[in-house]
Symmetry: C3
Subunit: 209 residues, 3 copies
Amino acid sequence: MTLTEASFWTGMAATAAFAVTAVAAIKNRGVDLFGVLVLGAITAVGGGTIRDVILQQPIFWVQNLSYIWVALGASAIAFFGRSLVTEGQTYAILLYLDGFGAAFFAIHAVDTVWKLGFGLPAAPVILGMITAIGGGLMRDVLAGRPTLLMSRELYAVPLLFACSLFALILTLALEYQAAGAAGCVALSFLLRAAAIHWNLRMPRWLLSK
Amino acid sequence: MTLTEASFWTGMAATAAFAVTAVAAIKNRGVDLFGVLVLGAITAVGGGTIRDVILQQPIFWVQNLSYIWVALGASAIAFFGRSLVTEGQTYAILLYLDGFGAAFFAIHAVDTVWKLGFGLPAAPVILGMITAIGGGLMRDVLAGRPTLLMSRELYAVPLLFACSLFALILTLALEYQAAGAAGCVALSFLLRAAAIHWNLRMPRWLLSK
Amino acid sequence: MTLTEASFWTGMAATAAFAVTAVAAIKNRGVDLFGVLVLGAITAVGGGTIRDVILQQPIFWVQNLSYIWVALGASAIAFFGRSLVTEGQTYAILLYLDGFGAAFFAIHAVDTVWKLGFGLPAAPVILGMITAIGGGLMRDVLAGRPTLLMSRELYAVPLLFACSLFALILTLALEYQAAGAAGCVALSFLLRAAAIHWNLRMPRWLLSK
């Protein structure tokens, strides 16, 4: 398996994880199967769509419909197995998979945008963040949930930290691009996993109140 | 009247129907005339705008400002005649017109996107759905209303069924494109009309609860 | 200082004013420093981003990252000085600065879009309004606040009046473009300042209730 293939299959797994976590997140909101498919797919591909619109590049899921089929299929499976995916133990595992998916999407986007030389160094980081959290923000707005910006959950900060570090590596030591990418995905995931495991939250003095 | 002209005038009528229904839908939300114009216009042209942005084609209402003038004019008329358009009997007629407009916009978009060969077969269906319901979703989010994804109303499902059937016709029997388009608009409208008339809703087992 | 330089620095000041006002507006919504940076930056550059996406032109802040740095810097300063910026007297000053920023952004966008010959005469006015209020709408939706479309506040109407007048000047008397731009910024600002000072609101008969 080449690196490109590995990246493709990781992206597919991350897409499925995003969709399934979305379905688990929107239970009890009066959403029907149609809404589940729409919100699952938006969560999975919405952030990357905004990224490609801002980049003015072809939309990734139009180029390769596998992302849509996987997002819709995973959402449908999650809908019919919703008593399973919203169950405590399974949902906890989903949170970790979602954290890994977000880390992968974010760092992969920073890498792609950096290679395009697009608004270095800030735009790759911003577009990496949009790729990872944009779909979830759209889902929450459309489902009438408070967005993650209104919670103290440590979801986005590990991503921002890892994306910024990766941008620094690409600026200072481009020869470590591959190792840096892997390391930053791992870092982001580990920080998020620590936040899930120990229920870490933003300290109160960093709240705007 | 040529087919293109008939299509243009149908689009204008559908634009007006979308705007007027939007104004009726947002009464009692503390919106003023400015908000009515904005939300009426967004409902009427918002979905098509997202479609054109994803297609990376010129925005349809920039190419032909008639859509904007009709949307704004219909919204203003609906605002000043709001005691009429929100009245039971008139509002019911509006719902049927809106259902026809959504069917027309959706199938017309599937047809247009299919001719561009853009992400066949899934992207035309997705963009058809975005064209028909995207503006209404934006309106509800901006007006602080629950979106249609959070209701059991049968609004989007008839559209999805008709768009998918039309994509199947275009795949298997492209020579029936014109008849298929007309038939799928009629099918979507009739399903929606049945849902309005008999107050049909999504069955409970298709709800995510 | 050339006119282009003056325009650039005014844009920077307006960007900072938008970001700081945004931070003051979202206090008490449980937003943390990350959310403050995101929402401050979206408020400052979000409207212009939608404008550039619809124009299918390069995104302004990707071309010149100063807008992002100023927006993030101003948001961070406002976060740490939030007891100051939300204090009555300072907040009142911020409202005036924000009103000036919105007037400048709107008229500047009308001017730019007009020069592109893009959908004259309606599209420049629409894109001017999107530039000025689009970021604030996104902020309110993401922060779960009622949008300005649901308030009787006279925020957008002065902008619409000035943008429309400027479009009229550009149509009828293009030779007065520079003076017209300055006059329309001043007009929009003065109307907004009057609305803030005397707490003017939309008259009740212009409400959709």
